[in-house]
Amino acid sequence: MRLYDKVFPPKQMVLSSGKTVEERFTRIPLILTGLLFMMILSIHITGFRISTLMNRGNEFFVILNQMIPPRTAYVSQIIQPLLDTIKMSLLGSFLGSILAIPFSIIAAGNIVKNKWILMTVRLFLSLIRTLPTLITALIATYIFGLGTMAGMAAISIFTFAYVGKQLYEQIETVDMGAFEAMEAMGANRFYSFLTAVVPFVLPAYCSTCLFCLEGNVRYASILGYVGAGGLGLILNEKIGWREYDSVGMILLVLFMAVFLIEGISYYIRKKLT
């Protein structure tokens, strides 16, 4: 940025009182050039073409049209996989969220002062988040066998990393005043954390976990690909047979389930705050 300021020197402005003010040359051209470059590069590499979208956009709805009306008769075969999906999401989200707590505490800069611990834990969380869930699910299937157990393991790992990051960011935004007050009253750090930080982060934490649960129910449909059980399995099968009306039914059921979960979680979050 120093160099930038040298190339584009700041503008001098003289006030009537004789004072001068320097205005740095705006960064916007730099940012715009960068964005434009990325845009052009990306459009070139990905072959993005608006004209294709205009001409062939209607093709997008072909499969969608085949899903409507959904095959209602199929619903009886959806319930069991749906329950499996919900079960594995529920348990996976729960385990992951619980596991995330200790890690996010030691990843929060206002609780732990040691820079190295912070860096290591954060890097660890970041690495886990980077590991594609498909890969973790696949590895899990080797260890736990095919089926919902593997899905559950993959979900809990994903949840762990996601909730862990969110939680430590939330802990860092807590106003440490009450914590300080607790310390001044003679409480140890752990007691202070429990009484002064937990009430602040608890609602946000629960809300993150519930959001994650809801996302996981949806995501579980992808895990079916590696044989992690649940709705994903029958979804794959029905797509394979081109039975889009059944696919539509599965999605409708999934939509309703997620809707229900979202409703419940909305209610709980309301209650918490």
Binding site: D175, G177, A178, E180, A181, M182, E183, A184, M185, G186, A187, N188, Y191, L194, T195, A196, P199, F200, P203, T273
Partner: protein, 257 residues
């Protein structure tokens, strides 16, 4: 009884927060500390319960050398000293009484801390503290639904429920409007009289300091430049404390003196 003898405090960046302070404060006194921003008021206060470490001299509270304390001993020493902050430092999301009950936590066994179980005695004690500061009826409201003045009173009740012998207050009324500030200062005065608790407070409002405290300590660049009765403060004294950099508005107060 608080005894500073030749206490100095140098921050890691070389700034002298306190510079050779010698001071004696008896039990039951009501002392206001005034001085410019950065003069060292907070540093002085926070040395007393060792929220800051001093770097030279000795500081005794009721005969205990503060510097000698550590770990468990330090924590139980701190339980005897209440501290009140400018921005109240309450847990806004929970009820008023839970905030007051926080003062009980340091002495509680672990199994009661985690689920947050309090005994009936503790609750009654907390309610009595709220009663003392006159906001008993707000006990089950959420703390963040109270006005600033009421929140500062909750903080005061929390400190009272600690049954301290000393209360340290770091600009307890800075965030309050003048009317409420007066009420809170009145609360301090009342508690000081009724319970014989030593009160030390930092304050920017000279007029409030003069109106409520018995003793005024003026501090400048870490040094004590005035120490005497509130009634003995005059123009010259204030000029000595605030120097040329007197905050605007203070001039007008001279007339009030």
């Amino acid at each position: 009884m608080i005894e500073f003898s030749h206490v100095s405090k140098e921050y890691s960046n070389g700034v002298k927060g306190l510079d050779d302070v010698t001071l004696h404060i008896g039990q039951g006194e009501f002392v206001a500390i005034i001085g410019l921003s950065g003069a060292g008021k907070s540093t002085l206060l926070r040395s007393i319960n060792r929220m800051h470490e001093i770097t030279a001299g000795t500081l005794q509270v009721n005969g205990t050398d503060v510097a000698s304390l550590n770990g468990k001993k330090l924590r139980s020493f701190r339980r005897g000293i209440g501290m009140i902050f400018q921005s109240f430092h309450l847990v806004g999301r929970t009820t008023v009484i839970k905030n007051v009950l926080m003062s009980k936590v340091p002495a509680m066994p672990f199994w009661r801390v985690v689920p947050g179980i309090f005994t009936k005695e503790e609750k009654i004690d907390a309610l009595e503290a709220l009663d003392k500061v006159g906001i008993l009826e707000k006990a089950y409201m959420r703390a963040d639904q109270l006005s600033g003045g009421q929140q500062q009173r909750v903080a005061l009740a929390r400190t009272l429920a600690q049954h301290p012998e000393i209360i340290l207050a770091d600009e307890p009324v800075a965030a309050l409007d003048p009317v409420t500030a007066r009420q809170v200062m009145g609360d301090f005065a009342k508690i000081n009289k009724e319970l014989n608790i030593t009160i030390l407070l930092n304050i920017h409002h000279v007029e409030l300091a003069l109106a409520y405290a018995e003793r005024i300590i003026g501090i400048r660049s870490g040094k004590i430049v005035f120490d005497g009765k509130a009634s003995s403060v005059d123009k010259a004294v204030l000029a000595g404390i605030y120097g040329e950099e007197m905050p605007e508005g203070v001039e007008e107060l001279y007339e009030a003196v």
